[in-house]
């Protein structure tokens, strides 16, 4: 009976010990992925910002500029790309909608971002675009990969349509979470006008005829939770200028937008709570279960060996019947 039990324990010990590395290095890279149908919105605000008044073509101080960013996973488009790519793919249709203090649209930037659901490597397929201009992204955008490393990453900038390193600048504590802080400075770069302008009747083509150009610079800051790769906070010190041409009435340049853009407080709280719960799920596959199974395997193996050793020990001799003492006679 002990022999049988020790064999069953041995089988279980090998099962759990083998499961430990299999979960971490085989199952995790295949199971951890960004869902194709994700939908997420984010609100960022720039308080006391400078905004161009297109009526007077003069920059003015405004109390607040709001940016609403939506990411929407397009499952049908992802299925199509997966057929040719042969791996799990995510297609994000996104919109960054900028609204002035009066609620009117300042600018909007639609994008289609296609990437590998597991590694977050960009995937180049028809439809990848920024503001309807076809692009070929390099590096990441919006989110870092699972198990983010302490190193620089290449980040895609939608305004310039180019990629550049975003630098790892240290580890910090953000609202109880260990986060990696990344920062990138995009130098003043000439960029295209948005396809949809804030004033009716003005098109990028009509502005181009005046010889006026649009320039942009930003300091981009992200606080990234490294297990999930999700940014829990983001900021941009963003500046845009119009330069030259007849549109400015003899001036060299005019500020189109200048502001310190930050995530709205309620969205920070929501994101931190969401990332904390997702972090536990990732840790389950990368740490809790592998280490737990390994410990269980070792324990079961020890128990199996103990039972095996006991089953092999020779049996104790049978206790002999003690004879009654003979009566002593004198």
């Amino acid at each position: 009976m002990r022999r049988k039990a020790s064999l069953v324990l041995l089988a279980l010990a090998v099962f759990f010990t083998a499961l430990s590395p299999l979960l971490r290095w085989y199952a995790f890279p295949r199971l951890a992925k960004i869902p194709a149908n994700q939908y997420q919105d984010m609100v960022l605000e720039a308080k006391d910002a400078t905004l161009l008044d297109y009526g007077t073509m003069k920059a003015k101080k405004v109390p607040k500029v709001t940016i609403v960013q939506t990411l929407k996973g397009n499952v049908q488009a992802a299925d199509k790309v997966e057929k040719t790519y042969g791996k799990d793919v995510v297609v994000w249709d996104s919109l960054s909608y900028v609204q002035g203090p009066d609620g009117k649209m300042v600018s909007k930037l639609p994008e289609r971002y296609i990437f590998d659901a597991h590694s977050q490597e960009p995937v180049h397929a028809t439809g990848e675009m920024v503001d309807d201009d076809p692009v070929k992204r390099e590096g990441i955008e919006f989110k870092w990969p699972f198990l983010t490393e302490k190193r620089d990453y290449v980040y895609f900038d939608a305004q310039t349509r180019t990629s550049a390193p975003i630098h790892y600048k240290g580890t910090q504590n953000f609202r109880g979470l260990k986060v990696y802080y990344f920062e990138e400075t995009v130098p003043w770069t000439k960029v295209t006008f948005p396809k949809v302008m804030p004033v009716k009747g003005i098109t990028p083509e009509s502005v181009a005829k005046t010889g006026t150009t649009r320039w942009y610079t930003t300091v981009r800051k992200f606080w990234v939770e490294p297990v999930t790769g999700a940014p829990v906070h983001g900021e941009e010190i963003h500046k845009e200028e119009l330069r030259g041409g007849t549109l400015l009435g003899g001036r060299d340049k005019v500020t189109a937008f200048s502001g310190h853009v930050k995530m709205r407080e309620d969205y920070i709280e929501h994101t931190v709570a969401l990332v904390k719960s997702n972090r536990t799920l990732v840790l389950l596959l990368t740490s809790y279960l592998p280490w737990g199974f390994l410990a269980l395997g070792i324990l079961l193996l020890a128990l199996s060996l103990y039972l095996e050793a006991r089953s092999r020990r020779p049996a104790d001799p049978e206790p002999s019947e003690s004879s009654a003492p003979e009566p002593v006679t004198a």
């Binding site: 199952a27 609100v43 929407k72 499952v75 919109l95």
Partner: protein
Amino acid sequence: MRALIAAATGLALAFALVLTMTAMGSPAGKTSPKPLLTTVPAHP
């Protein structure tokens, strides 16, 4: 010999479980009907 068979069974079961789990994957679901926002939401 019996110990070897027991160990091999445990190993085979571990591989079978992990391979089944990864082969099944997770369903992709459907595209959300919610629109790309052009108004500021009151809360997340």
